[in-house]
Each structure stands twice: as C-alpha cells, then as structure tokens.
Symmetry: C2
Subunit: 316 residues, 2 copies
C-alpha cells in the first residue's frame, strides 16, 4: 500500500460505477474525442468511485471522510486533491452522506443525474408541451430523464428491452406509455405509443431507435444524443439511420453531449434531484454486484440489458 504524498489522500474504495460506455474504452483506441482507452495490463482507471479516506496529506480531507474520485476499479487508491478527473465529475470531492448514501453519488446524485438533468433541460431544451421519448428508460440515466420530464408535466414514453422493465416504467415510474422494443418493429411500437409524434428523443441506444425517432419527430424536434448502447459491443461499425433527410425536412436538431461538460450544474442538480429523491417524487433503482472481481461480469450484464437502474459494484 503506497503512502499518500503531499496533497494526496489514500482511499479505501467502497463502491464503483459500471457504465455501458466503458465498453468503448475496451478497444485498442476509443472513439476520437472520448475518454482514452484502458491500457492493457493496467487497472481500469478513470471511472467514478466512492470510498473512505484512510490517510490524508491533503488540506480539507481527513480520515473517515467519504469521497468520490476517478481512480476507478481498485481496492485502494492514492488520489491527488484538485487534479481534474473525468471532466470534473470525479475530481476528489467529500460527500454529504447524511443527505444520501455514498453510492447515490455514483448514480442519481453523480454522473447519471447530471447527464439526465443537463441532457433534458439544456441539450434537448425541453419546452412546454413537448412529447418526450426516452430509450433505455429503465436504465440509470433514462429512468431519471423520464421522471424529470414527468415532474415538469410532459407526456413521456419509455422503451426498454423486457416486459418486466416495461411494467416498472408504467407501474413504478408512472410513464404515460411504454413498450418493449423486442416486441415488433420500432416505428410501429413508437407510433402506437405516440400517435401524434414526439418533440424530444433522449437517445441512449442509437441504431434502429435513432431511426425510429427521426421518423416520429415533429417540426423542430430535438434529439439529445447521450449514448448508443446498441452499438458498443458490435464487431463492426453499425450504419446510421437511412432517413436522415427528415432532419432537413423537419428542421430537427441532433446534439451530442457529455455530462462532464455540465459539471457547473452539479450542485444545482444534487439539490434538486436529491430533494425529489428524499421526497419520494423520484424513484431510483440500483443493481448491485458484490466484489471487484465481478466487475467485468457486471459490465457484460449491463450490455446485455440485464440490469435495472444503476449498475454498481460493491467493493467492501
């Protein structure tokens, strides 16, 4: 175990995050502009993680503090205070564990919450009366997006890959419509759920979901492009939608984004979403896998669609 140097803390990690997009870094090269690929033979570093400080030589951090950092999948980590990690989201931060349990800061009160909040309100520019479709709506980001839109009074359609998730979307989250995308042609399933079309599509899936959204978006509709889980594990690049001319015809806007670019909104999001969570107005599921040695399998499960809400690994 290394000792922390000046300005560093030693953290015993408790929880770490499993995100679909980690798959993009398990390649020789990650997509241009994205976080770097993981190095072979090295720990999976650069992943949001929560732990307890066991030794500190950094002002403002003391043993016993629960912190978030970006050192990633390891039992212990030496972390330098102030060093930017994951665009600021996972820069060493002390967490308020009276307000929420530590692991919440990896999900609803962390990157997932920020991505949902910034994506819906700032990227998709949600406007009064918008009809919203969220894909992977039972997932960590999607379930928050769907509920934030419901809280603002919108008609919200969710899609997911199992009937159980669809029951969760309708029964627990109270969405206006939901469908299992495996049950037919997407354009028909979406058309039945949103017969008047949609104004906003929050894209977590890409591929055929994106194509169906283009087919349903009304004039000046918007897509917040958050991720494309359907393509991450594909052996070959997946062709894009063949109906892109509809972007011109209907003056659509497709905007890609990264939650990390909106870190300035993090405190505001934690206040608002944290309040709704405590008040029971937002529900949030977690799928917990025990043991760091099971983290790879947790990622594989997530990519197979075998998880609801946030996938977490409990390290200790």
């Amino acid at each position: 175990m290394p000792d922390p140097g000046a300005g560093e803390v030693l953290v015993r990690n408790m929880w770490t995050s499993v995100d679909p997009a980690l798959r993009l870094r398990l390649r020789e090269r990650a997509p241009r502009g994205y976080f770097a690929a993981f190095a072979l033979g090295e720990p999976m570093a650069g992943i949001s993680t929560v732990g307890e400080v066991v030794a500190s030589r950094a002002p403002g951090f003391a043993p016993g503090d629960v912190v978030r950092h970006g050192a990633g999948w390891c039992d212990y980590a030496v972390v330098r205070a102030g060093a930017e990690s994951l665009g600021g989201i996972a820069t060493l931060t002390r967490l308020d564990v009276d307000a929420a349990p530590p692991e919440a800061y990896l999900g609803a009160l962390g990157a997932s919450g920020l991505t949902a909040y910034a994506g819906l309100f700032h990227v998709a520019e949600l406007r009064e009366g918008d009809i919203v479709w969220v894909s992977a709506a039972a997932g960590s980001v999607g379930s928050l997006v769907a509920q934030l839109a419901k809280l603002r009074g919108h008609r919200v359609i969710g899609s997911a890959g199992s009937d159980e998730k669809v029951r969760y979307l309708l029964g627990t989250l109270g969405l206006d419509a939901a469908f299992n995308y495996k049950h037919g042609a997407l354009s028909e399933l979406l058309g039945a759920a949103a017969p008047d079309g949609i104004d906003v599509y929050f894209d977590n899936v890409g591929g055929d979901h994106l194509e169906a959204a283009l087919g349903a978006l009304r004039k000046r509709g918007r897509i917040a492009m958050c991720g494309s889980i359907s393509e991450y594990d594909a052996p070959e690049p997946v062709p894009g939608p063949s109906n892109l001319f509809l972007v011109v015809a209907n003056e659509l806007t497709l905007r890609g984004f990264r939650g990390s670019s909106y870190v300035a909104l993090l405190d505001e999001m934690v206040r608002e979403v944290g309040g709704w969570l405590r008040g029971g107005r937002i529900r949030y599921e977690q799928t917990v896998v025990d043991g760091l040695e099971n983290a790879p399998e947790a990622l594989a499960r997530l990519l197979r669609g075998d998880a609801t809400g946030k996938m977490l690994v409990r390290i200790v």
Copy 2:
C-alpha cells in the same frame, strides 16, 4: 389564357428555378414534412419563378412589374397576391430590377442566398476562428456559403465533383483549399485539406460527405444540414454514417433547416449579399438552359453534377 380574378395578376414567366431537391417531390410521396410531391399530369407547381405582370387586378401590382412567385414551371401563371408560397420565399413580390437582373432573385438574391445566409450565420452559428468545410461548393448555395465565410475571415475548404469546379473554387472564389471528391477517399482528401480538423460543415451532399465531416469535426463542431444531393436519385434509402457516436464523443450539433423558415431575414440578406455582388466581393455563376421544355433535362444535369452555380431555365 385565363383572366386574373380580383386580387390576382397574370404573369408571363421569364425564368424559373431548378433545384436538386425537386427530385424529392418526383416521387409518390415526398419525405414527411417536406413540400408535397408533384401530382402526376399536373404542372410542376410550387417552384420559384420570375416573370412580368401582363394584367393585374391586385392592388400594388401593375403591368410591366417584374415579380417573383411560386407558380412554377409554366409559361403564364395567374397568381393571387398575398397567398403564401414556398414558406413565404415565393409569395408574389415585386422585384427591384434596377438593383439586379430578374433572374438573380431566383438565386443569390432569392432562396439560394437566403439558405446560404441563414444556414451559415444562424443554423451553423458561425463563430470567430471556425474552420469551415462546404460541400457542393461550386453550387448555387455552396458557392455563396463559401464566400460569406471567406468575407468573415474564415479558413474555408470547398469540395466539388470535377477538377474544373475545383479550379473555380481556388481561382475564382479564392477558397483556402478545395478538392475533387472523386479523387480518393473523402476522409483522406478532407484530412489533407483540413489537417487540424473543421468546426463547421455545411452539408449539401449527405452520405459519405456527412460521414467524413463527423470524422473531422472538432469539439462542439456544428453541421448545417441543408440537403443531401447524393441520395436524392438513389433507388433505395441510403444508410447513414457509421460513425455517429462521434456526435456524442465530441458534442457535435447537427441541425437540419429550410431556407423558407428564415424568410424574415430575406430583406437583410438581399441588402448585404446584393451589395457584395454589386461591389464584386461575391461571385456568382449561373448555368442557363433555354426553353421550358428543357427543364427536366436541366434537373437531370444538376443531379449529375453537370452545372456550376445556379441552374436556371430561361422561359422567354
């Protein structure tokens, strides 16, 4: 020849417009949200046209006035004053033929000018220092976009489909770089012309051009999606780019638009672009085909890439 009714004028048409996107209306159904398909056995109506009023029962219009309207490919047309046509661009308007020749109001001072002006400044949100790539840059819209960006001091790369057009882009329009997209892999040609990447892509072509742009756009780059001539004549829907994840990774914005939505900018555009044209700071080519009976062949030529600047049909 019908007589104009109350509020109508009879126009003898002089010039009409040939646009690549007319091809989209030569189908059983035009793309959802686009202008309607042309009806079989009917005149090609809903196309910007310029002519001379020969009889008027509309206040404010007198015989001898040169006007623009949207009645389309016909020798004479009865047009109702004030009836909106083509989103307002081709609503009956008297033209200032002292400031520019009549046919200019179908190109640089009409829909092409408005599309270029709105697309570059409002849709792509051109910012200081942006490196700009324009496809179909020897075309009616593209040549204006490229020159407007040059006038603002930007580095501008143009592409086209012949060496002669490339010489025009470099020699006459003074672009910083230009290439013939038929001379190799697009990503390599673009990479050589823009080794540091691009910030704005003005898309007139779609398909492989759009894919190459996604590969070259820097962080927060923007695409103004104006059209996709490469796909209009395709027998089957053309798959989209397989590198759409770069939209997420680099936080790109793709925005489709129609010039007709920016008709509020028409007067401003005519003033500015008209001034630059008269001052010789903007060059503008026209390809003229004589005789309305040759309009279909003019469209076919345009879709083959066999035209520089604006394709016009001289009716009389």
